[in-house]
Amino acid sequence: MTTSLPKKIWIYFLLIVTSFLVFFPVMYAFLISFMTGPELLQGKFLPQSFSLDNYIKVFDRLPLLNYLLNSFIVSVSVMLGQLAVCSLAAYAFVFIQFKGRDFIFFLFISTMMIPWEATMIPNKFTIQKLDWLNTYQGLTLPFFALAFGTFLLRQHFKTIPKELHEASQIAGLSKFAFFRRVILPVSKTSLVTLGAYGFLTTWNMYLWPLLITTNKSVRTVQIGLKQLQSLETGTEWGVVMAGVIVVIIPTLLLLFLGQKQLQKGLTQGALK
Protein backbone atom coordinates (compact mmCIF):
# COMPACT_ATOMS: atom_id res chain seq x y z
CA MET A 1 0.00 0.00 0.00
CA THR A 2 1.68 3.20 -1.07
CA THR A 3 0.45 6.62 -0.11
CA SER A 4 -0.01 9.09 -2.96
CA LEU A 5 2.47 11.97 -3.16
CA PRO A 6 0.03 14.88 -2.51
CA LYS A 7 -1.34 13.06 0.49
CA LYS A 8 2.20 12.45 1.76
CA ILE A 9 3.09 16.13 1.48
CA TRP A 10 -0.11 17.08 3.27
CA ILE A 11 0.64 14.64 6.14
CA TYR A 12 4.23 15.83 6.46
CA PHE A 13 2.99 19.41 6.56
CA LEU A 14 0.59 18.62 9.40
CA LEU A 15 3.23 16.57 11.24
CA ILE A 16 5.79 19.35 11.09
CA VAL A 17 3.43 22.17 12.10
CA THR A 18 1.76 20.33 14.98
CA SER A 19 4.92 18.78 16.40
CA PHE A 20 6.56 22.21 16.29
CA LEU A 21 3.65 23.62 18.31
CA VAL A 22 3.80 20.75 20.81
CA PHE A 23 7.54 21.09 21.31
CA PHE A 24 7.54 24.89 21.25
CA PRO A 25 7.29 25.48 25.04
CA VAL A 26 10.34 23.30 25.64
CA MET A 27 12.41 24.99 22.91
CA TYR A 28 11.28 28.36 24.23
CA ALA A 29 12.41 27.45 27.76
CA PHE A 30 15.72 26.22 26.34
CA LEU A 31 16.35 29.51 24.50
CA ILE A 32 15.30 31.63 27.49
CA SER A 33 17.72 29.70 29.69
CA PHE A 34 20.64 31.38 27.87
CA MET A 35 19.29 34.92 28.05
CA THR A 36 20.30 37.77 30.33
CA GLY A 37 17.82 40.14 31.99
CA PRO A 38 18.15 42.95 29.39
CA GLU A 39 17.72 40.51 26.51
CA LEU A 40 14.50 39.26 28.07
CA LEU A 41 13.16 42.81 28.49
CA GLN A 42 13.88 43.58 24.85
CA GLY A 43 11.77 40.57 23.93
CA LYS A 44 14.40 38.81 21.85
CA PHE A 45 13.60 35.36 20.59
CA LEU A 46 17.16 34.08 20.16
CA PRO A 47 19.87 34.61 22.80
CA GLN A 48 22.97 36.59 21.80
CA SER A 49 25.29 33.84 22.94
CA PHE A 50 24.93 30.39 24.41
CA SER A 51 26.82 31.20 27.60
CA LEU A 52 26.32 28.92 30.57
CA ASP A 53 26.11 31.77 33.12
CA ASN A 54 22.49 31.07 34.04
CA TYR A 55 23.29 27.40 34.59
CA ILE A 56 26.15 28.25 36.94
CA LYS A 57 23.93 30.75 38.76
CA VAL A 58 21.09 28.31 39.31
CA PHE A 59 23.43 25.83 41.01
CA ASP A 60 24.58 28.73 43.20
CA ARG A 61 21.10 29.90 44.06
CA LEU A 62 19.73 26.52 45.11
CA PRO A 63 21.30 23.30 46.43
CA LEU A 64 20.23 21.89 43.06
CA LEU A 65 22.85 19.15 42.99
CA ASN A 66 21.61 18.01 46.38
CA TYR A 67 17.99 18.06 45.14
CA LEU A 68 18.90 16.14 41.99
CA LEU A 69 20.60 13.48 44.06
CA ASN A 70 17.55 13.27 46.36
CA SER A 71 15.19 12.91 43.40
CA PHE A 72 17.43 10.21 41.97
CA ILE A 73 17.57 8.24 45.23
CA VAL A 74 13.81 8.54 45.76
CA SER A 75 12.93 7.58 42.16
CA VAL A 76 15.27 4.59 42.07
CA SER A 77 14.03 3.38 45.48
CA VAL A 78 10.37 3.58 44.44
CA MET A 79 11.21 1.89 41.14
CA LEU A 80 12.99 -1.04 42.83
CA GLY A 81 10.42 -1.25 45.62
CA GLN A 82 7.53 -1.38 43.14
CA LEU A 83 9.26 -4.01 41.02
CA ALA A 84 9.83 -6.23 44.07
CA VAL A 85 6.42 -5.80 45.71
CA CYS A 86 4.38 -5.95 42.49
CA SER A 87 6.18 -8.93 40.99
CA LEU A 88 5.77 -10.95 44.19
CA ALA A 89 2.03 -10.23 44.25
CA ALA A 90 1.60 -10.89 40.52
CA TYR A 91 3.38 -14.24 40.94
CA ALA A 92 0.96 -15.31 43.67
CA PHE A 93 -2.04 -14.33 41.54
CA VAL A 94 -0.87 -16.33 38.52
CA PHE A 95 0.99 -19.36 39.84
CA ILE A 96 -0.57 -20.22 43.21
CA GLN A 97 -4.09 -21.64 43.59
CA PHE A 98 -5.56 -20.52 46.88
CA LYS A 99 -8.84 -19.79 48.57
CA GLY A 100 -9.91 -16.16 48.54
CA ARG A 101 -7.85 -15.25 45.50
CA ASP A 102 -10.78 -13.47 43.86
CA PHE A 103 -11.48 -11.52 47.01
CA ILE A 104 -7.90 -10.31 47.36
CA PHE A 105 -7.84 -9.48 43.68
CA PHE A 106 -10.96 -7.38 44.20
CA LEU A 107 -9.23 -5.57 47.08
CA PHE A 108 -6.36 -4.72 44.76
CA ILE A 109 -8.76 -3.36 42.12
CA SER A 110 -10.57 -1.26 44.71
CA THR A 111 -7.35 0.61 45.56
CA MET A 112 -7.42 2.03 42.02
CA MET A 113 -10.76 3.70 42.77
CA ILE A 114 -9.41 5.58 45.79
CA PRO A 115 -7.78 8.80 44.65
CA TRP A 116 -4.53 9.29 46.44
CA GLU A 117 -5.40 12.91 47.22
CA ALA A 118 -8.47 11.80 49.19
CA THR A 119 -6.26 9.96 51.68
CA MET A 120 -3.37 12.39 51.98
CA ILE A 121 -4.44 13.93 55.29
CA PRO A 122 -4.22 10.75 57.43
CA ASN A 123 -1.18 9.64 55.41
CA LYS A 124 0.68 12.78 56.34
CA PHE A 125 -0.10 12.18 60.01
CA THR A 126 0.97 8.55 59.75
CA ILE A 127 4.35 9.65 58.42
CA GLN A 128 4.55 12.32 61.12
CA LYS A 129 3.77 9.82 63.88
CA LEU A 130 6.40 7.42 62.55
CA ASP A 131 8.79 10.37 62.73
CA TRP A 132 9.46 9.96 59.02
CA LEU A 133 9.09 13.60 57.94
CA ASN A 134 12.18 14.58 55.94
CA THR A 135 13.27 10.99 55.40
CA TYR A 136 13.67 8.88 52.27
CA GLN A 137 11.40 6.15 53.64
CA GLY A 138 8.62 8.69 54.19
CA LEU A 139 8.92 9.79 50.57
CA THR A 140 9.12 6.31 49.06
CA LEU A 141 7.50 3.55 51.12
CA PRO A 142 3.82 4.56 50.58
CA PHE A 143 4.25 4.02 46.83
CA PHE A 144 5.82 0.55 46.80
CA ALA A 145 2.49 -1.27 46.42
CA LEU A 146 0.79 -0.46 43.12
CA ALA A 147 -2.30 -2.18 41.74
CA PHE A 148 -1.58 -1.02 38.19
CA GLY A 149 1.94 -2.48 38.36
CA THR A 150 0.66 -5.77 39.72
CA PHE A 151 -1.83 -6.06 36.83
CA LEU A 152 0.79 -5.19 34.25
CA LEU A 153 3.08 -7.97 35.48
CA ARG A 154 0.21 -10.40 36.02
CA GLN A 155 -0.75 -9.95 32.36
CA HIS A 156 2.74 -10.91 31.31
CA PHE A 157 3.15 -13.79 33.76
CA LYS A 158 -0.06 -15.28 32.37
CA THR A 159 1.58 -15.71 28.96
CA ILE A 160 4.33 -17.91 30.45
CA PRO A 161 3.55 -21.54 29.55
CA LYS A 162 2.24 -23.59 32.48
CA GLU A 163 4.54 -26.46 31.38
CA LEU A 164 7.48 -24.40 32.59
CA HIS A 165 5.94 -24.36 36.04
CA GLU A 166 5.33 -28.12 36.02
CA ALA A 167 8.84 -28.83 34.76
CA SER A 168 10.35 -26.74 37.50
CA GLN A 169 8.35 -28.62 40.13
CA ILE A 170 9.57 -31.95 38.74
CA ALA A 171 13.13 -30.61 38.76
CA GLY A 172 12.61 -29.89 42.45
CA LEU A 173 12.86 -26.09 42.27
CA SER A 174 11.21 -24.36 45.18
CA LYS A 175 8.50 -21.77 44.43
CA PHE A 176 10.81 -18.91 45.20
CA ALA A 177 13.64 -20.31 43.08
CA PHE A 178 11.20 -20.72 40.19
CA PHE A 179 10.09 -17.10 40.66
CA ARG A 180 13.61 -15.72 40.83
CA ARG A 181 15.40 -17.88 38.27
CA VAL A 182 12.68 -18.50 35.68
CA ILE A 183 9.85 -15.97 35.91
CA LEU A 184 11.83 -12.79 36.45
CA PRO A 185 14.36 -13.37 33.64
CA VAL A 186 11.69 -14.18 31.02
CA SER A 187 9.64 -11.11 32.02
CA LYS A 188 12.43 -8.62 31.50
CA THR A 189 10.44 -6.47 29.07
CA SER A 190 7.47 -5.87 31.37
CA LEU A 191 9.79 -5.27 34.30
CA VAL A 192 11.61 -2.62 32.28
CA THR A 193 8.29 -0.99 31.33
CA LEU A 194 7.08 -0.88 34.90
CA GLY A 195 10.49 0.31 36.09
CA ALA A 196 10.54 3.20 33.61
CA TYR A 197 6.96 4.11 34.50
CA GLY A 198 7.75 4.05 38.23
CA PHE A 199 10.89 6.14 37.84
CA LEU A 200 9.14 8.71 35.64
CA THR A 201 6.09 9.17 37.86
CA THR A 202 8.18 9.37 41.03
CA TRP A 203 10.66 11.86 39.57
CA ASN A 204 7.70 14.07 38.64
CA MET A 205 5.83 13.71 41.93
CA TYR A 206 4.88 17.05 43.48
CA LEU A 207 2.21 17.07 46.19
CA TRP A 208 3.65 14.33 48.45
CA PRO A 209 7.20 15.76 48.66
CA LEU A 210 5.61 19.16 49.29
CA LEU A 211 3.88 17.72 52.37
CA ILE A 212 6.68 15.50 53.63
CA THR A 213 9.78 17.71 53.25
CA THR A 214 10.26 20.80 55.35
CA ASN A 215 13.96 21.37 54.77
CA LYS A 216 16.53 20.73 52.08
CA SER A 217 17.82 17.41 53.48
CA VAL A 218 15.68 15.11 51.30
CA ARG A 219 13.79 17.72 49.24
CA THR A 220 13.32 16.79 45.56
CA VAL A 221 13.93 18.86 42.43
CA GLN A 222 10.24 19.49 41.78
CA ILE A 223 9.94 21.36 45.06
CA GLY A 224 13.21 23.06 44.16
CA LEU A 225 11.47 24.42 41.05
CA LYS A 226 8.68 25.87 43.17
CA GLN A 227 11.25 27.54 45.43
CA LEU A 228 13.18 28.86 42.45
CA GLN A 229 10.07 30.33 40.91
CA SER A 230 9.03 32.03 44.14
CA LEU A 231 12.54 33.45 44.65
CA GLU A 232 12.21 34.87 41.17
CA THR A 233 12.52 38.66 41.15
CA GLY A 234 11.48 40.08 37.82
CA THR A 235 14.26 39.70 35.32
CA GLU A 236 16.02 36.52 36.33
CA TRP A 237 13.82 34.22 34.33
CA GLY A 238 16.88 32.97 32.46
CA VAL A 239 18.17 31.39 35.67
CA VAL A 240 14.76 29.86 36.43
CA MET A 241 14.57 28.31 32.96
CA ALA A 242 18.09 26.93 33.32
CA GLY A 243 16.78 25.14 36.42
CA VAL A 244 13.79 23.82 34.46
CA ILE A 245 16.02 22.44 31.70
CA VAL A 246 18.31 20.71 34.21
CA VAL A 247 15.29 19.09 35.89
CA ILE A 248 13.60 17.81 32.71
CA ILE A 249 16.68 16.40 30.99
CA PRO A 250 16.81 13.04 32.87
CA THR A 251 13.14 12.19 32.28
CA LEU A 252 13.15 13.43 28.68
CA LEU A 253 16.17 11.23 27.95
CA LEU A 254 14.47 8.27 29.60
CA LEU A 255 11.35 8.89 27.53
CA PHE A 256 13.27 9.26 24.26
CA LEU A 257 15.10 6.00 24.87
CA GLY A 258 12.12 4.04 26.11
CA GLN A 259 9.18 5.56 24.20
CA LYS A 260 8.46 2.47 22.10
CA GLN A 261 8.78 0.09 25.02
CA LEU A 262 6.66 2.25 27.30
CA GLN A 263 3.91 2.62 24.72
CA LYS A 264 3.69 -1.14 24.10
CA GLY A 265 3.83 -2.02 27.77
CA LEU A 266 1.30 0.56 28.93
CA THR A 267 -1.31 -0.31 26.30
CA GLN A 268 -0.95 -3.97 27.18
CA GLY A 269 -1.43 -3.33 30.87
CA ALA A 270 -4.33 -1.01 30.18
CA LEU A 271 -6.39 -3.12 27.88
CA LYS A 272 -6.11 -6.80 28.55
Partner: protein, 300 residues
Protein backbone atom coordinates in the same frame (compact mmCIF):
# COMPACT_ATOMS: atom_id res chain seq x y z
CA UNK B 1 -8.11 -46.59 49.07
CA UNK B 2 -10.66 -46.29 51.83
CA UNK B 3 -7.86 -45.61 54.23
CA UNK B 4 -6.82 -42.48 52.45
CA UNK B 5 -7.37 -39.71 54.91
CA UNK B 6 -8.47 -36.24 54.04
CA UNK B 7 -5.32 -34.12 54.38
CA UNK B 8 -5.23 -32.05 57.56
CA UNK B 9 -6.13 -28.41 57.62
CA UNK B 10 -2.47 -27.38 57.88
CA UNK B 11 -1.68 -29.17 54.63
CA UNK B 12 -4.77 -28.02 52.80
CA UNK B 13 -3.99 -24.38 53.46
CA UNK B 14 -0.32 -24.70 52.46
CA UNK B 15 -0.91 -22.89 49.17
CA UNK B 16 -2.87 -20.18 50.91
CA UNK B 17 -0.05 -19.56 53.35
CA UNK B 18 2.58 -19.38 50.63
CA UNK B 19 0.40 -17.02 48.59
CA UNK B 20 -0.09 -14.84 51.64
CA UNK B 21 3.67 -14.60 52.03
CA UNK B 22 4.01 -13.28 48.48
CA UNK B 23 1.06 -10.94 48.88
CA UNK B 24 1.99 -9.72 52.35
CA UNK B 25 4.06 -6.68 51.32
CA UNK B 26 1.26 -5.39 49.07
CA UNK B 27 -1.50 -6.11 51.57
CA UNK B 28 0.43 -4.47 54.39
CA UNK B 29 1.20 -1.34 52.39
CA UNK B 30 -2.33 -1.06 51.00
CA UNK B 31 -3.73 -1.42 54.51
CA UNK B 32 -1.54 1.26 56.02
CA UNK B 33 -1.49 3.78 53.15
CA UNK B 34 -4.81 3.21 51.30
CA UNK B 35 -7.51 1.46 53.34
CA UNK B 36 -6.75 2.82 56.80
CA UNK B 37 -6.47 6.47 55.64
CA UNK B 38 -9.64 6.10 53.57
CA UNK B 39 -11.67 5.01 56.61
CA UNK B 40 -9.88 7.56 58.76
CA UNK B 41 -10.82 10.34 56.30
CA UNK B 42 -14.48 9.29 56.41
CA UNK B 43 -14.30 9.15 60.21
CA UNK B 44 -12.67 12.59 60.53
CA UNK B 45 -15.26 14.12 58.23
CA UNK B 46 -17.79 13.73 61.07
CA UNK B 47 -15.64 15.60 63.61
CA UNK B 48 -14.10 18.88 64.50
CA UNK B 49 -10.38 18.24 64.86
CA UNK B 50 -7.51 19.60 66.87
CA UNK B 51 -4.13 20.80 65.53
CA UNK B 52 -2.74 17.27 65.38
CA UNK B 53 -5.54 16.10 63.16
CA UNK B 54 -7.17 14.06 65.92
CA UNK B 55 -10.94 13.95 66.27
CA UNK B 56 -12.14 16.33 69.00
CA UNK B 57 -15.90 16.97 68.80
CA UNK B 58 -18.48 14.82 67.03
CA UNK B 59 -20.56 17.00 64.71
CA UNK B 60 -22.32 14.40 62.57
CA UNK B 61 -23.08 15.69 59.08
CA UNK B 62 -22.42 19.31 60.01
CA UNK B 63 -19.17 19.47 58.05
CA UNK B 64 -21.08 18.39 54.97
CA UNK B 65 -23.98 20.77 55.47
CA UNK B 66 -21.46 23.54 56.10
CA UNK B 67 -19.80 22.75 52.77
CA UNK B 68 -23.08 22.70 50.87
CA UNK B 69 -23.86 26.17 52.19
CA UNK B 70 -20.37 27.57 51.73
CA UNK B 71 -20.10 29.65 48.57
CA UNK B 72 -16.33 29.00 48.54
CA UNK B 73 -16.89 25.26 48.23
CA UNK B 74 -19.67 25.62 45.64
CA UNK B 75 -17.36 27.85 43.61
CA UNK B 76 -14.56 25.34 43.93
CA UNK B 77 -16.84 22.58 42.62
CA UNK B 78 -17.96 24.79 39.74
CA UNK B 79 -14.37 25.64 38.85
CA UNK B 80 -13.44 21.95 38.97
CA UNK B 81 -16.35 21.03 36.71
CA UNK B 82 -15.45 23.71 34.19
CA UNK B 83 -11.80 22.71 34.30
CA UNK B 84 -12.71 19.08 33.52
CA UNK B 85 -14.97 20.26 30.69
CA UNK B 86 -12.24 22.48 29.21
CA UNK B 87 -9.38 20.01 29.45
CA UNK B 88 -10.66 16.47 28.86
CA UNK B 89 -12.53 16.60 25.50
CA UNK B 90 -10.06 18.92 23.76
CA UNK B 91 -7.07 17.07 25.18
CA UNK B 92 -8.30 13.73 23.89
CA UNK B 93 -9.32 15.04 20.48
CA UNK B 94 -5.90 16.64 20.00
CA UNK B 95 -4.07 13.52 21.17
CA UNK B 96 -6.21 11.39 18.84
CA UNK B 97 -5.45 13.70 15.92
CA UNK B 98 -1.70 13.46 16.62
CA UNK B 99 -1.90 9.69 17.06
CA UNK B 100 -3.67 9.30 13.70
CA UNK B 101 -0.98 11.43 12.02
CA UNK B 102 1.84 9.54 13.74
CA UNK B 103 0.35 6.19 12.81
CA UNK B 104 1.05 6.76 9.10
CA UNK B 105 3.92 4.66 7.84
CA UNK B 106 6.29 7.34 6.62
CA UNK B 107 10.03 7.92 6.73
CA UNK B 108 11.14 9.61 9.94
CA UNK B 109 7.83 9.02 11.73
CA UNK B 110 9.70 7.85 14.84
CA UNK B 111 10.99 11.37 15.36
CA UNK B 112 7.48 12.83 15.35
CA UNK B 113 6.22 10.14 17.73
CA UNK B 114 8.96 11.06 20.18
CA UNK B 115 8.08 14.76 19.97
CA UNK B 116 4.34 14.19 20.54
CA UNK B 117 4.99 11.97 23.56
CA UNK B 118 7.65 14.33 24.99
CA UNK B 119 5.31 16.18 27.36
CA UNK B 120 4.91 12.96 29.32
CA UNK B 121 8.57 13.29 30.33
CA UNK B 122 8.14 16.83 31.65
CA UNK B 123 6.91 17.15 35.21
CA UNK B 124 3.87 19.21 36.15
CA UNK B 125 6.13 21.53 38.15
CA UNK B 126 8.53 22.14 35.24
CA UNK B 127 5.69 22.58 32.73
CA UNK B 128 3.95 25.01 35.04
CA UNK B 129 7.07 27.15 35.43
CA UNK B 130 7.48 27.29 31.63
CA UNK B 131 3.84 28.29 31.14
CA UNK B 132 4.05 30.78 33.99
CA UNK B 133 6.63 32.63 31.95
CA UNK B 134 4.70 32.32 28.70
CA UNK B 135 1.69 33.88 30.48
CA UNK B 136 3.85 36.65 31.99
CA UNK B 137 1.98 39.92 31.30
CA UNK B 138 4.98 41.95 30.13
CA UNK B 139 7.70 39.51 29.00
CA UNK B 140 5.66 36.41 28.15
CA UNK B 141 5.27 35.15 24.64
CA UNK B 142 1.47 35.36 24.47
CA UNK B 143 1.23 39.07 25.19
CA UNK B 144 4.19 39.81 22.89
CA UNK B 145 2.31 37.99 20.15
CA UNK B 146 -0.85 39.96 20.87
CA UNK B 147 1.01 43.28 20.73
CA UNK B 148 2.61 42.25 17.42
CA UNK B 149 -0.91 41.74 16.08
CA UNK B 150 -2.03 45.06 17.63
CA UNK B 151 -4.51 43.29 19.88
CA UNK B 152 -5.25 44.33 23.48
CA UNK B 153 -3.12 42.66 26.16
CA UNK B 154 -4.60 39.96 28.35
CA UNK B 155 -3.80 39.42 32.05
CA UNK B 156 -3.80 35.67 31.56
CA UNK B 157 -3.37 34.46 35.13
CA UNK B 158 -4.44 37.63 36.96
CA UNK B 159 -7.84 38.15 35.36
CA UNK B 160 -10.58 36.00 36.95
CA UNK B 161 -12.20 35.74 33.51
CA UNK B 162 -9.10 34.22 31.95
CA UNK B 163 -7.23 32.40 34.73
CA UNK B 164 -9.10 29.09 34.61
CA UNK B 165 -8.89 29.04 30.83
CA UNK B 166 -5.14 29.73 30.94
CA UNK B 167 -4.56 26.96 33.47
CA UNK B 168 -6.66 24.64 31.29
CA UNK B 169 -4.61 25.39 28.17
CA UNK B 170 -1.38 24.56 29.97
CA UNK B 171 -2.94 21.39 31.43
CA UNK B 172 -4.07 20.18 27.99
CA UNK B 173 -0.48 20.52 26.85
CA UNK B 174 0.87 18.61 29.90
CA UNK B 175 -1.48 15.67 29.34
CA UNK B 176 -1.09 15.29 25.58
CA UNK B 177 2.02 13.10 25.77
CA UNK B 178 0.45 10.35 27.84
CA UNK B 179 -2.88 10.29 25.94
CA UNK B 180 -0.99 10.26 22.66
CA UNK B 181 1.16 7.32 23.70
CA UNK B 182 -1.84 5.25 24.81
CA UNK B 183 -3.90 6.09 21.69
CA UNK B 184 -1.00 5.36 19.33
CA UNK B 185 -0.60 1.98 21.04
CA UNK B 186 -4.30 1.33 20.48
CA UNK B 187 -4.08 2.28 16.80
CA UNK B 188 -1.13 -0.02 16.25
CA UNK B 189 -3.05 -2.93 17.70
CA UNK B 190 -5.72 -2.70 14.99
CA UNK B 191 -5.49 -5.55 12.51
CA UNK B 192 -4.07 -4.38 9.14
CA UNK B 193 -6.29 -6.79 7.21
CA UNK B 194 -9.37 -4.80 8.10
CA UNK B 195 -8.00 -1.87 6.14
CA UNK B 196 -6.83 -3.90 3.18
CA UNK B 197 -10.27 -5.26 2.37
CA UNK B 198 -11.82 -1.81 2.72
CA UNK B 199 -9.25 -0.32 0.35
CA UNK B 200 -10.22 -2.82 -2.31
CA UNK B 201 -13.78 -1.60 -1.91
CA UNK B 202 -12.46 1.88 -2.58
CA UNK B 203 -13.53 3.38 0.75
CA UNK B 204 -12.22 6.89 1.48
CA UNK B 205 -10.09 7.95 4.44
CA UNK B 206 -12.89 9.40 6.54
CA UNK B 207 -15.18 6.50 5.79
CA UNK B 208 -12.50 4.11 7.08
CA UNK B 209 -11.90 6.34 10.10
CA UNK B 210 -15.58 6.25 11.03
CA UNK B 211 -16.30 2.64 10.18
CA UNK B 212 -13.06 0.84 11.14
CA UNK B 213 -10.55 2.92 13.10
CA UNK B 214 -12.81 4.53 15.70
CA UNK B 215 -14.88 1.42 16.49
CA UNK B 216 -11.74 -0.71 16.79
CA UNK B 217 -10.10 1.97 18.92
CA UNK B 218 -13.08 2.30 21.26
CA UNK B 219 -11.64 0.21 24.16
CA UNK B 220 -8.52 2.42 24.15
CA UNK B 221 -10.56 5.61 23.86
CA UNK B 222 -12.77 4.44 26.70
CA UNK B 223 -9.71 3.77 28.85
CA UNK B 224 -8.08 7.12 28.13
CA UNK B 225 -11.32 9.05 28.73
CA UNK B 226 -11.65 7.45 32.18
CA UNK B 227 -8.03 8.10 33.10
CA UNK B 228 -8.16 11.70 31.83
CA UNK B 229 -11.32 12.45 33.79
CA UNK B 230 -9.81 11.06 36.98
CA UNK B 231 -6.54 12.94 36.38
CA UNK B 232 -8.38 16.21 35.78
CA UNK B 233 -10.18 15.93 39.12
CA UNK B 234 -6.82 15.33 40.81
CA UNK B 235 -4.93 18.31 39.34
CA UNK B 236 -2.85 20.17 41.89
CA UNK B 237 0.70 21.14 40.85
CA UNK B 238 -0.23 23.56 38.08
CA UNK B 239 -2.62 25.40 40.41
CA UNK B 240 -0.03 25.66 43.19
CA UNK B 241 2.57 27.15 40.82
CA UNK B 242 0.47 29.15 38.36
CA UNK B 243 -2.28 30.77 40.44
CA UNK B 244 -2.43 29.49 44.06
CA UNK B 245 -6.14 29.11 43.52
CA UNK B 246 -6.64 32.77 42.63
CA UNK B 247 -7.55 35.31 41.35
CA UNK B 248 -10.69 35.60 43.52
CA UNK B 249 -10.65 31.81 43.95
CA UNK B 250 -11.46 31.31 40.26
CA UNK B 251 -8.98 28.42 39.97
CA UNK B 252 -9.48 26.90 43.42
CA UNK B 253 -9.85 23.30 42.17
CA UNK B 254 -10.98 20.64 44.62
CA UNK B 255 -7.59 19.10 45.49
CA UNK B 256 -6.09 22.53 46.00
CA UNK B 257 -9.05 23.42 48.17
CA UNK B 258 -8.51 20.28 50.29
CA UNK B 259 -4.82 21.10 50.60
CA UNK B 260 -5.50 24.66 51.78
CA UNK B 261 -8.24 23.67 54.17
CA UNK B 262 -6.07 20.97 55.76
CA UNK B 263 -2.51 22.24 55.72
CA UNK B 264 -2.93 26.00 55.72
CA UNK B 265 -6.18 26.51 57.69
CA UNK B 266 -5.79 23.31 59.79
CA UNK B 267 -9.51 22.53 59.39
CA UNK B 268 -9.04 18.77 59.03
CA UNK B 269 -12.73 17.97 59.55
CA UNK B 270 -14.07 20.03 56.65
CA UNK B 271 -11.02 19.11 54.57
CA UNK B 272 -11.87 15.43 55.13
CA UNK B 273 -15.47 16.06 54.12
CA UNK B 274 -14.15 17.58 50.87
CA UNK B 275 -11.86 14.59 50.39
CA UNK B 276 -14.83 12.24 50.78
CA UNK B 277 -16.69 14.32 48.18
CA UNK B 278 -13.74 13.90 45.80
CA UNK B 279 -13.75 10.15 46.45
CA UNK B 280 -17.48 9.91 45.70
CA UNK B 281 -17.16 11.95 42.49
CA UNK B 282 -14.39 9.71 41.21
CA UNK B 283 -16.32 6.62 42.18
CA UNK B 284 -19.37 7.86 40.26
CA UNK B 285 -17.26 8.76 37.22
CA UNK B 286 -15.67 5.32 37.17
CA UNK B 287 -18.98 3.48 37.59
CA UNK B 288 -20.74 5.62 34.97
CA UNK B 289 -17.89 5.07 32.55
CA UNK B 290 -18.09 1.32 32.99
CA UNK B 291 -21.89 1.26 32.65
CA UNK B 292 -21.89 3.44 29.54
CA UNK B 293 -18.72 1.87 28.20
CA UNK B 294 -20.10 -1.65 28.32
CA UNK B 295 -22.82 -0.69 25.88
CA UNK B 296 -20.83 1.50 23.53
CA UNK B 297 -17.45 -0.15 23.34
CA UNK B 298 -16.66 -2.61 20.60
CA UNK B 299 -14.18 -5.30 21.61
CA UNK B 300 -12.21 -7.27 19.06
Amino acid sequence: MTLLEKPGIWKRTANGRTALLYLLPSILLFSVFVFYPMFRTIYLSFFLTDQNGDAAIWVGFENYSYLLESTAFINSMKATGLFVLYTVPIGIILALFFALLANEKLRGIGFFRTVYSSTMGISVAASSVIWLFMFNPSMGMFNRLLSLLNLPQIQWLLDPQWALLSVSISTIWMNIGFSFLILLGGLQNIDEHLYESSRIDGAGYFYRLRRITLPMLSPTLFFIITISLINAFQSFGQIDILTQGGPSASTNLIVYSIYREAFINYQFGTASAQAVTLFIIILIVTILQFKLGERRVHYQ
